[in-house]
């Protein structure tokens, strides 16, 4: 019901708003860009990734030895439990996010659907690269992602997270056993890499791709807030303000 309400709202607001930014406050031009499911997903997803990255790194490297009897400790078990739980949260969130992209406004589909076949898209990517290379100084006045950001989001985030979910569940299926649904659904990964050590390695590299993405993402958002005066808070309020 929540999603349905948002869809109605989404239909009413951004379709009109995107075309011509309206006055939504004194001296501020703004537009409703990220609907509530997208915002909620963003922060749940960010928390899950933080948890997954920390626990994943610990699982990969091991913890310092705990003293006492094995029966009195369950540290590594808890770390792995946290990793798997956060993995489930991330995966369910990602599936719901795909659903919201199907029913939500056009900004919700940006990270899934990139018009790679359009010439004008690539011209705009080229322009954005010039802008980040300090060769063009016109500030970004887009309501949603600019084409370069959209491309980075699609290549580094959407693809990597999909890869991490698939390999993550495949590895989980090894522990859950060959008759588990995880193995039935994702076990084909081991037809590509018969030795699961390779899957571990790729899953591990995925962590670093996500980390690099997070670095660039946070930097670009803060920089845009300052340089183009596009509000960073739009992922909280949903509204993109242009403060000039």
């Amino acid at each position: 019901m929540f999603v349905r309400d948002m869809r109605n709202e989404a239909r009413q607001l951004p379709a009109a708003v995107d075309a011509a930014p309206t006055e939504r406050g004194i001296g501020h031009r703004g537009a409703y860009v990220y609907d509530a499911p997208v915002r909620l997903w963003h922060w749940v997803n960010a928390a899950a990734i933080l948890m997954l990255a920390l626990t994943g790194y610990l699982i990969g490297t091991g913890t310092p030895a705990m003293s006492g009897q094995a029966s009195g400790n369950f540290l590594f078990g808890y770390i792995r439990f946290a990793h798997f739980s956060a993995g489930y949260v991330l995966s369910v969130g990602f599936v719901l996010r795909i659903y919201s992209a199907l029913i939500g406004n056009r900004h919700a589909t940006q990270i899934f659907c990139v018009p790679l076949w359009r010439g004008c898209f690539w011209r705009e990517v080229h322009y954005e690269i010039r802008r980040y290379g300090f060769l063009a100084i016109e500030p970004d006045r887009r309501v949603g992602h600019n084409p370069l950001a959209q491309l980075a989001m699609f290549l580094m985030f959407t693809q990597t997270i999909t890869f991490m979910i698939v390999t993550g569940f495949a590895l989980y299926g090894q522990g859950a056993g060959s008759d588990s649904w995880q193995d039935r659904l994702f076990g084909w990964v081991f037809s590509i890499w018969p030795n699961s050590q390779d899957v571990h390695t790729w899953h591990h590299l995925g962590l670093w791709v996500i980390l690099v993405f997070v670095l660039v993402h946070i930097y670009a958002v803060i920089r845009e807030d300052i340089m183009s005066r596009r509000s960073i808070s739009s992922m909280i309020s949903g509204e993109r303000e242009f403060r000039d």
Binding site: T63, G177, D198
Partner: protein, 363 residues
């Protein structure tokens, strides 16, 4: 050669083994295969009525460790398997015949048991230079393998060599050694990886095929599920230390003496499918982790090419220098971090120099 129509029971009765001992053997075999209480009588019935399965055992590029392991089987005893259960018609390593006599037996067996024999292959064929790196009886081994596989019922790929390629197929693989399933495509292939496989896994598999006259259920990789459906890690007796977060840090530290988990010492148990932690070796005496050393993952694909046996993370060679995923990731994150910082600095400088009219400094 005349044993094709003989049953196992008639053979062992002739050898003076009592019916009582025969049934004891059936019960023990049923237990070691993990079958139910009724299976003992099924086994007995099968061995009394079914003709012995002819087995032809070929050797390609290999070290004979599979044969060495096989002859140490305790449950069932190799004597029982070899002399009674199967009709091992050809095995050039342990047969009495040699030279042309041996080759003649091979041809004879191929013609006589057409479509009925099991072809057990130890080792693998090299494919480069027309297969000349392994000449067997004056011909490249790959030709012998192809011709014998053609008339076989099924193929058992003994060991990691035949299943995955093993050391002779490790990079750069100068002889082009290839696992059996890359050479023979039209026959059922049972992979029994391990370097070597556990003796009881080998004899247990042979017993299963002889007893039930069919191939066991195989997993996605073509390995028998009854022995390869779980990882070393899943049944490791040190698993409780893994879950507790108690790891050995050095080979001679206190934790090693206490028998903690060898995960941080590079134990490959969590990525290795084999029965070592359940069946163990040498009649159940021990297995590597019990003896204080991590698993090398000898039954997995390409285990020679995954870097050190003492690292959890695979060495990635594409970057010129040997690095693992963490080192590469940290380097990439560092480079990107520095780039971001530099970009931010340039942005700030540009902003200060290009827009002197702006009074408020950027937040």
């Amino acid at each position: 050669m005349g044993g094709a129509t003989e049953t196992l029971y008639s053979v062992i009765r002739r050898q003076g083994i009592t019916r009582r001992s025969f049934h004891k053997f059936c019960s023990l075999t049923a237990a070691s295969l993990g079958l139910g209480p009724l299976a003992a009588s099924t086994i007995a019935d099968a061995l009394e009525t079914k003709p012995r399965v002819p087995v032809i055992w070929l050797h390609g590029l290999e070290c004979t460790c599979c044969s060495e392991s096989f002859i140490r089987s305790a449950h069932p005893l190799i004597k029982d398997t070899l002399l009674s259960m199967i009709s091992l018609d050809y095995d050039d390593t342990i047969m009495a015949a040699a030279g042309e006599q041996a080759e003649a037996i091979l041809e004879e067996a191929r013609a006589k048991y057409k479509g009925k024999y099991v072809l057990a292959v130890e080792g693998n064929p090299p494919l480069k230079q027309g297969g000349m790196f392994c000449i067997d009886g004056g011909k490249p081994f790959v030709e012998k393998l192809r011709s014998m596989a053609e008339e076989s019922m099924a193929i058992i790929a003994w060991g990691t060599c035949a299943s995955w390629g093993c050391v002779q197929a490790a990079k750069p693989n100068p002889t082009g050694a290839a696992p059996i399933d890359q050479v023979i495509k039209n026959k059922p292939i049972i992979k029994v990886p391990g370097c070597p496989p556990i003796a009881e896994v080998m004899s247990g598999l042979v017993t299963f095929i002889t007893t039930f006259g069919k191939l066991p259920e195989l997993d996605r990789q073509g390995r028998p599920k009854m022995f390869y459906s779980e990882r070393i890690h899943d049944k490791c007796y040190r698993r409780s230390h893994f879950d507790a977060g108690q790891f050995v840090e050095e080979w001679d530290d206190e934790c090693a003496r206490k028998g903690y988990c060898l995960y941080k010492m590079g134990c490959k148990g969590p990525t290795t499918y084999n029965a070592c932690s359940a069946l163990r070796w040498n009649g159940g005496v021990s297995f590597p982790i019990q003896s204080g050393h991590g698993c090398l993952s000898c039954s997995e694909d390409g285990f020679w090419d995954k870097g050190s046996f003492y690292d959890r993370l695979t060495t990635i060679k594409q970057f010129g220098i040997e690095k693992n995923a963490d080192q590469i990731g940290m380097a990439a994150a560092g480079v990107v971090g520095l780039t971001v910082a530099a970009h931010a600095a340039v942005t700030a400088v540009k902003r200060l120099t290009n827009k002197p009219d702006r009074t408020a400094p950027p937040k």
